[in-house]
């Protein structure tokens, strides 16, 4: 991988501070997250609710201003761009939202929604915008007559297709898909996931795929990053991660995937308790409060993200001792 990655996130940190007039703890949503997304690949971000997945996704597009760290898109640091440059860069990366009912304006026709970004980016004449929007509509396999209708006339799955078409209309290089299927029925989920995968392969898109569904992530992603409480626990190529998980948290997550074949029940590792508050994270390893293998030392040192194999990195100080388990 000598080529420069399309997206390189380094030391990304986001703390949400309480407002000037109220007292309250600082919420540490993400803490020192670094990863790379090579061109044409799909990187998955997985974790429970509150693990900082969405904050990372939005920081990449600078929809959230990171507290510190750098987001390099095609070599350019997004966090240091002046507004005019930022506008041009933003056309090259697009976001797909989780909730297809909130992400489409109820007062615009589908055509207007699809052409909005083109208008913002100054694409002229109008005919060119219409043509591009109709092409995007066709790419997501929606009928052309959807163009003049409103979002509320469509079902959840169709709306999510419109959301994808809106992202595609700008012909971006990077797509950040924030739980694009978790609000949909299971039968529709498969359609949307297949659509995303086809589009990704056909258009050579680079994608940051955020999800809490490990089965979906395994299907679509090349590399998977496991997050817990805003920190990276483990990252590895998808096949490697699923075959050989090294972090106790990853193992617990994988053991929770439902087994489609009855009777082949595997040993479950059920995590007890809830994810701790990001306003008051545990010392040392943040996972230690729920880790079945936590030792006294885990409270003292923040585990570094070490290489254990080719492109496989784990943040656990006891990983050698635990290698034989599971």
């Amino acid at each position: 991988m000598s080529e420069q990655p399309l997206l390189a996130v380094s030391g990304l940190t986001k703390h949400f501070k309480p407002s000037t007039f109220s007292r309250g703890p600082v919420v540490r949503a993400i803490e020192d997250v670094s990863f790379e997304v090579p061109r044409g690949t799909v990187v998955g971000l997985v974790g429970e609710s509150g693990s900082g997945k969405t904050t990372i996704g939005r920081s990449v597009l600078r929809l959230v201003e990171p507290t510190s760290g750098a987001v390099r898109f095609d070599g350019v640091d997004m966090t240091a761009l002046p507004p005019s440059e930022l506008r041009r860069q933003r056309a090259r990366m697009q976001y797909i939202f989780q909730d297809p009912f909130a992400s489409l304006s109820p007062r615009m026709t589908i055509g207007q929604i699809l052409m909005e970004g083109l208008e913002i980016q100054g694409m002229r004449p109008r005919e060119a915008r219409v043509a591009r929007a109709k092409a995007a509509l066709a790419a997501v396999e929606l009928p052309a007559d959807a163009f003049d209708r409103y979002a509320h006339e469509f079902s959840g799955g169709q709306r999510q297709r419109i959301g994808i078409a809106r992202a595609l209309a700008l012909e971006p290089e990077l797509i950040v898909a924030d739980e694009p299927v978790s609000a949909l029925d299971v039968s529709i989920q498969a359609q949307i996931i297949n659509l995303l995968r086809d589009l990704q392969q056909r258009l050579g898109l680079t994608m940051l795929f955020i999800s809490h569904d490990l089965a979906v992530v395994e299907y679509i992603c090349d590399t998977v990053i496991v997050l817990y409480l805003g920190r990276v626990m483990e990252m590895a190529p998808a096949a490697e991660l699923y075959a050989n998980p090294r972090h106790p948290y990853t193992r617990a997550l994988l053991s929770a995937i439902p087994e489609p074949v009855p009777g082949r029940a595997k040993q479950r590792q059920v995590l007890v308790g809830d994810i701790p508050s990001p306003a008051n994270p545990p010392s040392g390893c943040v996972f230690r409060t729920r880790c079945p293998h936590a030792a006294a030392a885990c409270a003292n040192t923040v585990p570094p993200l070490d290489n254990v194999a080719q492109a496989h990195r784990v943040a656990c100080i006891r990983r050698e001792e635990l290698a034989g388990l599971a």
């Binding site: 041009r88 056309a91 976001y95 939202f97 909130a102 007062r107 026709t109 980016q121 003049d148 509320h152």
Partner: protein
Amino acid sequence: MTAETPATVRSASKGPWVRAWGRFSSNGAALAGLAILVPILVLVISYPLWWPYSPNDIDLRALNQAPGPVHWLGTDGVGRDILARLMQGGRISLTVAVVSVAISIVIGFLVGAIASFGGKVVDNGVMRLVDLAMTLPPVIFLLVLASIAGTGVAPTIVVISLLSWPVLSRMVRARLLELRERDFVVAARGMGASLPHLLFRHGLPNSIDILVVYATLQIANAILLEAGLSFLGLGIAPPEASWGNMLNAARSTVVLEQYVWQWMFPGGALVLTVLAINFLGDGLRDAFDPRSDLN
């Protein structure tokens, strides 16, 4: 795919305005409002063409005359024709109300927009100013403003619009603060949208219900404010006619009891107009909301 296609393709070819009209015209009250308001406007605008008397002509042979074949709506204490004054008063009152509401909507929307999109510091600063404007006792504020601005149509418009924008700016701010976090607005930002784009493509259309409701209530309020100001001698000064200062004739017991036509017609016109505008406002609000098709 076929399972997902909606069964109805009914409105696919119609434009948004056609559909808005369809929703509007299915609302009986709104149509009634329109049916009342349009004739009133036509009459008020066209009266010099079909009525021989002008509002300030004095007919000394017909003082306090009851409605009859010559003066259809009677005359007032100095022999001026009530119908002519009613029409002229309608022009003045509606002009004052509509223009002052338009101005206060522009000010209120922009202040609310600046507060909600300007960041925490700007928001706090602007909202404290709004609080200050709202805590001033309205009557005293009106008197001070009016004594500075003077009497006449333009000063009255200025005074009324300066008094009425703070409430609207609060409502707009609340709506835009909520809207700012909605995914489709975040999406627009993600596509590089500028502040004017966010405000006028997303903020304005999604605040239209607030603005229309505010406008309809405020037009009624502005007509009444104008009447109050005129009563205090600070609004529309005689001999110029307005519905407000015509109504004030009723403060004399003699007029109130014996010359009923002198206050009943402007009063009736005021009530009818305000009612019609309110019905119209309701219909407009529903017509602008594409989701109301579902109900």
